[in-house]
Symmetry: C2
């Protein structure tokens, strides 16, 4: 008599994007002919750069002949892509062994799967607001109690509030925690942790033998050279942190799919000396995964070449200019917003203390602009909405103009 | 104080392929200049067919222009690939809804991840021998006791022996079980379940509300039209089975990565009516996964087109001819072997009741041929070795000649 995993039933009602789509569709149905401006989902819109296109074609062509065809590769990605990733980190002064780099089909799978190697009763801390995958995957793994609809929190999960008062970077947890998820540049707030911010968490994690799961998926958007792009720029992080990264936003690979996780050999747990987490993640990946697509790896190597990185930087700067346009429009209206300078997301405080969904509806109704309600990312996201800079320039400009001209003061 | 998931420590020493590689390397080091013949790992060796190469190039090219670039697609794969899969099943008389098809990066991830939607205390039954992923992923999820080194079994796991006496298809479990993994054509035995074999398990599963996880990854090798290529050819299977499939062996996608799982809406569990497992798998995939690569999907659509299927069939027939060469060589030596007619694997009974590793060593030493010890797939694999037909014709012929000429009677 098979039964389902009961933890799935704890998940709070669906993902927020379906609800956004539902409201947008309902509005469009009632207002035919109205042009909707989408600043909601953080999905890349600009084509892959020439170097990447050439790399992908080469990857395909290699599979066309007996001499160059390859089947299964290394579970952790073949040497060329791992070497390219090691080079990327070396530019930032971070030395990695190739056996510390595990390439996958994206940061989302890695963010979700990494919890598998930790104890089922681990206490998990997340930034609040946070990327929902950190929370939902731990709910499914049984590390939380039920969802409290009043508090908008899962029992047993440690929420670390990120609000304007702390520059959207949390205070150290006051409870004992085992796993700490940190994302910088942050999704959804666009805040970027300073070296001192990360050093504080690294010291805490080393002292408590906690593990920091650091999500660096947006680090290519950091323009300020004083801000760390990797947690491994902080001394001691190799003993207490692992890092997840991706080409999704770095090189427009949201649909192509390539990411990676760095698991330092020096990472130490209560029950495992150096190397154990690295060995367990290797076992996890070799058991559940068969390596990233060889075609995609060829594109990834091209994206991380000097030419590829230079071309990708132009696209990133394009999105950052979109973010600047969004910010300056909002600021000119006297609204308060954050992020968007070293990150693709702008985090807008709702005016007049409206709640997130109320302001979502108002932006939709008055300016026909779709954003993402901050409350969808956790209780401390209430009172904010997220605006994404991923879009064609003309669409972003049209959205900004619509907000400027039509949002009522 | 973070700790590791203790279930990983239960896993019996590594995967068997590293041990095979170790012995092969040691032999090569002691016998420089000797040519080793590899009939071990089941990895495709022939190039992708022209239709697939063209499809992949088109998939890449679409990402090069603003008008055709796409980012995130559907978590379950975009409509064209799901429609192509639905067509494949329709040819076999199986009607599927597009919302019952979940496309992924391979049958291995799906085989490993599917257990996530079932209760943590589910009782799991596996064919013995079996593809190690079914076992190892349930060990990691905590559904077994420790490994018993004498019995070579995990506590709590129900082993269903597959030996010559039952044509390598198991009897019905005599214990209460919740999840039943069946692979046909089988890895490693090469045995193919008949319609009657599957009907017996379907009737059992429906009566007991158990779920059959059916792995059809090798079904393209079935030449005998009387043998079922999908469990959904059996009446009632939609209420008790899901099916995992892949282009790895069908179209040479071992490195390209594309697979899928069919979760019928009619599937019923003790605690969930029709649709619940489908909904939970959708939630699992949308939370942990971001859809298969869009480039790879384009190759998959091409592989499943009429032209692609016809071209792929030529490659499959090529491997099947390899299997015939291996079988006839072994048979001519008076050895007893199974499989290899509707499957890419030949399952060889060791002569003189040698154990699997002893005969592995003998084949390596005398004929310089590398095979896979059957005991690596479970206790009932003891006394057998698996020979893979994946290889270039000249290499398979050389291996066969070496066995014929040099294996001592």
């Amino acid at each position: 008599m098979a039964r389902t995993n009961p933890h799935y039933d704890k998940l709070a009602a669906g993902y927020l994007f379906p609800e956004i789509a539902r409201r947008a569709q309902a509005f469009a149905a009632e207002n035919p002919g109205v042009r909707l401006h989408r600043l909601g989902i953080g999905d890349t819109t600009e084509p892959l750069v020439p170097a990447v296109i050439a790399g992908l074609h080469q990857g395909v062509e290699r599979l066309a002949t007996v001499a160059t065809y390859t089947g299964y590769g290394d579970y952790e990605g073949d040497p060329p892509i791992r070497e390219a990733i090691a080079r990327l980190y070396r530019r930032r002064g971070v030395a990695l062994g190739l056996d510390e780099i595990f390439v996958s089909d994206g940061a989302k799978p890695d963010s979700g799967n990494i919890q598998s190697v930790f104890a089922p009763d681990s206490v998990v801390a997340v930034q609040d607001p946070a990327y929902p995958v950190y929370v939902d995957t731990n709910v499914i793994a049984g590390r939380t109690g039920p969802f409290d609809a009043i508090l908008q929190e899962y029992g047993g999960l440690v929420y670390m509030p990120c609000r304007a008062e702390n520059r959207f970077f949390p205070e150290l947890p006051t409870k004992a925690v085992d796993l700490i998820y940190i994302c910088s540049p942050n999704n959804p707030t666009g805040a970027v942790a300073t070296h001192a911010d990360l050093a504080r968490f690294v010291a805490f994690a080393r002292q408590r033998r906690a593990v920091i799961v650091f999500d660096a998926a947006y680090s290519a958007f950091i323009k300020d050279p004083s801000l760390p792009r990797s947690i491994f720029e902080v001394e001691g992080a190799r003993e207490c942190a692992l890092e997840i990264h991706s080409l999704s936003k770095t090189a427009g690979f949201t649909g192509v799919r390539l990411g990676w996780t760095i698991v330092p050999r020096d990472l130490v747990l209560e029950d495992g000396g150096p190397g154990k987490v690295n060995r367990l993640w290797r076992r996890r990946q070799s058991t559940f995964f068969n390596g990233p697509s060889n075609v995609v790896q060829a594109g990834g190597v091209a994206a991380l070449s000097d030419a590829g990185l230079a071309e990708c930087q132009i696209v990133i700067d394009y999105y950052l200019e979109n973010a600047r346009i969004i910010r300056s429009t909002l600021t000119s209206l006297g609204l308060t917003c954050y992020g968007g300078d070293n990150a693709p997301y702008v985090w807008l405080e709702t005016p007049g203390r409206m709640n997130s969904w109320e302001f979502f509806d108002r932006l939709l109704r008055e300016a026909n602009v779709i954003v993402t309600p901050g409350s969808g990312f956790g209780p401390s996201g209430e009172g904010y909405v997220r605006l994404s800079s991923f879009g064609h320039r003309e669409d972003v400009e049209a959205a900004a103009a619509s907000i400027r001209d039509r949002l009522r003061p």
